[in-house]
């Protein structure tokens, strides 16, 4: 999976690590898997399913790839890269330059696509979008969760890791749907009925994700989590980075960490916010926003309210990508 980002993020890679390409393997048509080890022989730091790394594929080219190895084995990291003749040439450089033994600078793993705890998961992968899903399935399986994977692609030969996944987990919970055999994924029937307590994690091409978003409109808010592998606007990006919230009335500032809601964070510093469902469905926790850009994740504000940008539902919504600070009327 490649995540395209703006120049600001691409240029400022933090925690650069010198790594070596340990193994290169062709895992599907035009897809190579790269196993990376640290140059100093040490294990990598721990990471969670959904994480990606920045890979410096040339002097001025940085690309982000999801990790598809196991977080329980930190001796190496694995990414898989689809050759796409895109204008910027990142994937071509990976395919051409990152041969076995080549040195490569990467970043510490970062997670814009964290797997939230739930009883049931529906994973939907399109093509190379399978990569972040692989560690997620491992975690769901380890924790004894009820999960299913729907993996779609143009043909089996283009679908990396499909055979290994079926061998590991069996065909019962895993549907591999190749377009040239069974046609397009029937997302409509898959998603027509919202399921209780089920989170949908989807990664794949923009068209597929747009369709999934459409079908999931009747699902409880917060059920759908997506990551685009060539993101037009990286809407999942900064929104899962920590950000600050300033409460103007109490004069307090609090950091909202990944995995914490604005509501929880402001309650923790003593602000009183009336809330009810805490899932973005009822609108009770509506809060006036003095300044800052909001990524709305609720199911009740209208487009006009969103455009005005002066209210948010603090139980689910967050600061938008690139907005480090929200100022709230609390």
């Amino acid at each position: 999976m490649t995540i395209e980002t703006g120049p600001a993020e691409a240029s400022g890679t933090t925690g650069a690590i010198d790594a070596i390409v340990d193994r290169v393997e062709t895992v599907a048509d035009r897809v190579v898997s790269l196993v990376l080890r640290r140059a100093d022989g040490e294990p990598f730091h721990g990471w969670d399913p959904g994480s990606h790394i920045d890979v410096h594929v040339g002097d001025d080219i940085v690309r982000q790839y999801s990790l598809c190895s196991s977080p329980s084995d930190l001796s190496h990291l694995r990414i898989a890269v689809l050759y796409t003749p895109d204008s910027r040439g990142g994937s071509r450089r990976v395919h051409e330059a990152l041969v076995e033994g080549a040195p490569v600078t990467i970043s510490e793993p970062r997670n814009n696509f964290p797997l939230l705890d739930s009883r049931k998961y529906l994973f939907i992968a399109g093509g190379i979008g399978i990569t972040p899903i692989i560690p997620m399935i491992e975690a769901a399986e380890r924790d004894g969760r009820d999960w299913r994977l729907i993996y779609g692609g143009r043909s089996r030969s283009t679908m990396a890791f499909a055979r290994q996944l079926v061998e590991t987990y069996g065909a019962e919970r895993l549907t591999v749907a190749a377009e040239d055999e069974s046609g397009r994924l029937d997302l409509a029937s898959l998603l027509a009925l919202p399921r209780a307590h089920m989170l949908v994690y989807a990664c794949g091409p923009a068209g597929m994700l747009a369709a999934i978003e459409e079908f999931c409109m009747g699902w409880p808010p917060g059920a759908l989590h997506t990551e685009r592998f060539v993101a037009a606007a990286l809407d999942a990006g900064g929104s899962t980075e920590p950000f600050e919230v300033e409460l103007v009335r109490s004069g307090t500032t609090v950091t909202v960490e990944v995995g914490t809601t604005v509501l929880e964070a402001v309650e923790a510093v003593g602000a009183r916010v009336l809330s009810s469902c805490r899932t973005g469905l009822c609108g009770t926790c509506e809060t006036r926003v003095v300044s800052g850009d909001i990524e709305h994740r609720d199911a009740v504000l209208t487009e006009a309210d969103r455009d005005a940008g002066d209210v948010m539902l603090v139980c689910v919504s967050r600061a938008a990508a690139g907005c480090p600070r929200l100022v709230l009327d609390l």
Partner: protein, 399 residues
């Protein structure tokens, strides 16, 4: 079924007896003490009284469906007395109706109601503040929502006297076929006919919620029948419950002089006081769900097809959720997560309007009333599923 009845403790209490309706809390405590899930032998259904278990039922819309109806009978097996409402539907039918309603009632549209909703509250409370005593239910709670809410929906003036008796039918039908229900339905056809007519497109004002719901028919989102049903749902769900919300809140606050003083000092706390009062005296006390597949809840096996009677009132006072002082009003309590408005997909879509109405009335009253105290015993309403008072005498000192 045999196994189930051994698993769950069997109680022969009648939650629909007059005694238990008028003073529900001892029974609700007994239900919780007997286990989160018990078997009610009188009605052949499960009673669920623990907060965790009630929350589970309300959020697991697949295992505990609503299309079987909120009453004790599965409305899919015989014809109900009316076409099923949004409350009695599951996804995907529910989804389109809910989307239509959310498009019409949302934080923005509710905000714009504060203007028109305030003057009637000011007028009613300033008249009452000139008295030494009044009835907080008949003189205040019953006066206010009926004055503002039907206007917001945009129904005709004529026939509004049928709204309360109609709501009384709708909600009482979520209980068993007893004398209470019979009385509610005494002139049922007349009420239903007037209300259904008020919900038709040509009856509605151009700018009310009703007309906006009908606009969604043109968008192709909902059918003509669904539009009628949604307007009907607003009318039946949006009046009685709000009246009881106001009355019940005042029934709690009238007994707490320190809290009244605190609220006068900091009126912005009123909304928290209301939620805490709704937790303690939830207007919508209980309703049914239908189990769709064999499942286990609170350690008890529930077979597919069983009815569960969900006790909101019990869950909202469950010490396991709220602590040992669950029966007490605490202004500093975080009462978020109370289930008075439901939870999950069917959580009350009109709750911001209800909260707004109660808050406006309370703030207007706080402005004008220095002290308020009970001036006689409140008279509880006899109703299968709603909790409220038909009379709540209070003595006041004007500010």
């Amino acid at each position: 079924m045999t196994k189930t009845m051994i698993d769950a403790m069997v109680l022969d209490d009648d939650p629909f007896s007059i005694e238990n309706i008028q003073d529900p809390h001892p029974l609700l405590a007994r239900l919780r003490d007997a286990g989160s899930v018990t078997w009610l032998s009188k009605y052949n259904c499960f009673a669920v009284a623990g907060h965790e278990e009630v929350y589970e039922i309300l959020t697991d819309f697949e295992t505990y469906c609503s299309s079987g109806g909120l009453g004790p009978h599965d409305i899919r097996e015989d014809e109900g007395w009316r076409p099923p409402s949004i409350l009695e539907s599951d996804p995907p039918t529910h989804t389109v109706m809910r989307r239509a309603l959310t498009g019409v009632i949302n934080p923005g549209t509710v905000r714009s109601l504060r203007g028109p909703f305030t003057p009637p509250a000011a007028e009613i409370t300033s008249a009452l503040a000139r008295l030494d005593r009044f009835d907080a239910v008949t003189d205040l709670a019953e006066q206010y929502p009926i004055r503002v809410f039907p206007d917001a929906v945009g129904i005709p003036q004529e026939g509004r006297e049928h709204l309360l008796p109609y709501g009384n039918m709708v909600f009482n039908a979520f209980g068993p076929k007893n004398a209470i229900l019979e009385e509610a339905f005494a002139e049922g056809e007349a009420h239903a006919e007037v209300v259904m007519r008020a919900c038709e497109r040509e009856s509605l004002d151009a700018d009310g919620f009703g007309a906006k719901i009908w606009d969604r028919v043109e968008d192709g989102l909902i059918s003509v029948q669904q539009a009628t049903l949604l307007v009907r749902a607003l009318l039946s769900a949006g009046i009685d419950t709000t009246i009881f919300g106001i009355g019940n809140t005042l029934s709690v606050l009238a007994r707490l002089p320190e809290v009244w003083a605190q609220l006068r000092e900091t009126p912005s706390l009123a909304k928290f006081a209301i939620d805490e009062a709704l937790r303690l005296e939830s207007p919508f006390q209980k309703y049914h769900r239908t189990v769709t597949v064999d499942t286990v809840l609170g350690g008890v096996h529930l077979p597919a097809g069983a009815k569960v009677l969900v006790f909101i009132g019990a869950a909202n006072r469950d010490p396991r959720r709220w602590g040992d002082d669950a029966d007490e009003f605490r202004l500093d309590r975080n009462s978020s997560g109370h289930l008075a408005f439901g939870m999950g997909l069917h959580q009350c879509v009109g709750q911001p309007i209800a909260r707004l109405e109660i808050e406006i009335v309370l703030q207007q009253l706080l402005e004008r009333v220095l002290t308020i105290e009970p001036a006689g015993e409140p008279v509880p309403l006899v109703h299968n599923v709603l909790r409220g008072f038909t009379s709540l005498p209070v003595a006041i000192r004007a500010a």
